[in-house]
């Protein structure tokens, strides 16, 4: 049997190779064949999941809700210390000082990342802004979100906090943070589907032992950009999903 592994399309581009390295390590450790399938966008990935093609997924918290509640996936682990927080930024010379200064018609540069866009819109509610009275400026990467701001094609931009602080100094010098979310609960998670469920526990043990798995473990983690994995239990997962649920329409 061959299993399929996929990664939320919002992973940072510099870690694509890392997921292949991870998969090679994983197959050797588990002794099963696993194939990596990466999708360019959330829609295609969701379709593949709906078609039952995916067994292991590093999922966006937005999708995790659907996977756990509707598709019988269970959470195994999450990247140590990582949380999905949002930065809303403006161009450094923007007259906007606080969220409440924003007016209807504001142009928002954003990626497709669903949880970042959801949280971003929530941070705009104090200014009475919603999808109905704002204009989206689509960008395929966070660097392009920054470009929209700097070149004046958008008034504010939604960033995954990590991606914002990964921007080069030169770019960041031209931007200013308007607000940063402090939610602490929302994060990506590695989930396994029903066909892989019986191996979930051994996968969890492997991941938690990765930093000490010499010689390869630490290097593989580094190529993913993680310091390690944290176990994610059933109730913690359900809590995160309940929280995401309260934030949706």
């Amino acid at each position: 049997m061959v299993y399929n592994l996929t990664v939320s399309p919002d992973f940072s581009p510099e870690h694509i190779a890392g997921w292949y390295v991870f998969n090679t390590w994983l197959q050797r450790k588990l002794g099963y064949r696993i194939h990596v399938d990466l999708y360019d966008d959330f829609e295609t990935q969701r379709q593949a999941i709906a078609d039952g093609k995916i067994d292991i997924v590093f999922a966006n918290p937005f999708d995790a809700a659907m996977l756990v509640r509707d598709k019988g996936f269970t959470a195994v682990a999450t990247a140590e210390g990582q949380r999905d927080e949002v930065v809303i930024a403006v161009a450094a010379d923007s007259p906007v000082r606080r969220v409440e200064d924003l007016q209807p018609g504001v142009r928002i540069a954003k990626t497709q990342d669903p949880d970042i866009n959801l949280i971003g819109m929530i941070l705009l509610e104090p200014a009475d802004l919603s999808l109905e009275n704002t204009v989206a400026q689509a960008a395929s990467t966070y660097v392009l979100v920054a470009k929209h701001l700097i070149q004046g094609r958008a008034d504010i931009g939604f960033f995954l906090k990590e991606a914002f602080y990964d921007l080069s100094q030169v770019i960041r010098k031209n931007l200013r943070v308007l607000v940063t979310s402090e939610i602490h609960v929302v994060r990506h998670a590695l989930l396994v589907g029903p066909r892989f469920a019986e191996h979930g526990e051994s996968l969890r043990r492997l991941l938690l032992g990765m930093p000490g798995d010499l010689p390869q473990g630490p290097g593989v983690l580094e190529s993913l950009g993680f310091s390690g994995w944290e176990s994610l239990g059933e109730e913690d997962t359900q809590f995160m999903i309940d929280l995401m649920d309260t934030l949706q329409e």
């Binding site: 606080r98 929530i122 941070l123 104090p126 009475d128 940063t180 809590f239 929280l243 309260t246 934030l247």
Partner: protein, 166 residues
């Protein structure tokens, strides 16, 4: 729940009310006309059991309510009830959750120090293996315009309930 005392307040110019709760007991609350503004970017999160007893409160909840975590856990959620809130709003919360649905609305909450804070709140049932085990509520910074619309509406509902005015 203990009665409030002037010594715990952030000011001296307070009004006094006696609230009677759904469960039948009463509590003396003291309120000040001081608003504590909602912190940017944060969510206030709490969970309760099926009776509305607080089982979890995050750091933002502790900061905004003025109570310590130890003071909150095990207390009814109505420890935050402000006398300006109409009872019918909370009846709607419980009726909606009982139907397994999500509730959303604007709420004025009472702090331990007598000041108040407005939130846009949302609550969902926590369903585990088909059984409702409790509720989660998440509050965010509200739109001032919406809050200003709620103030006269709640005052009117409140006046009807207490039989004063109108």
């Amino acid at each position: 729940m203990d009665d409030m005392h002037p010594s715990q307040l952030a000011g001296t110019d307070y009004r006094e009310y006696t609230l009677t709760y759904f469960e039948g007991f009463s509590r003396r609350v003291l309120v000040l006309d001081i608003e504590k503004s909602y912190p940017d970017g944060k969510l206030i999160v709490s969970r309760t059991d099926t009776k509305g007893i607080i089982t979890h409160a995050n750091q933002a909840f502790v900061e905004m309510s003025g109570y310590s975590e130890a003071e909150l856990i095990g207390q009814p959620h109505s420890i935050l009830r402000h006398p300006d809130m109409p009872a019918i709003a909370f009846k709607d919360v419980w009726d909606t959750l009982a139907q397994g649905k999500k509730w959303k609305g604007y709420v004025k909450n009472l702090r331990k120090d007598g000041a108040y804070y407005w939130v846009f709140a949302s609550a969902v049932p926590n369903v585990r293996n088909g059984v409702v085990e409790g509720y989660t509520s998440v509050r965010r910074k509200p739109s001032r315009k919406r809050v200003n619309e709620c103030v006269p509406l709640y005052a009117e509902l409140r006046a009807k309930e207490t039989g004063h005015g109108l």
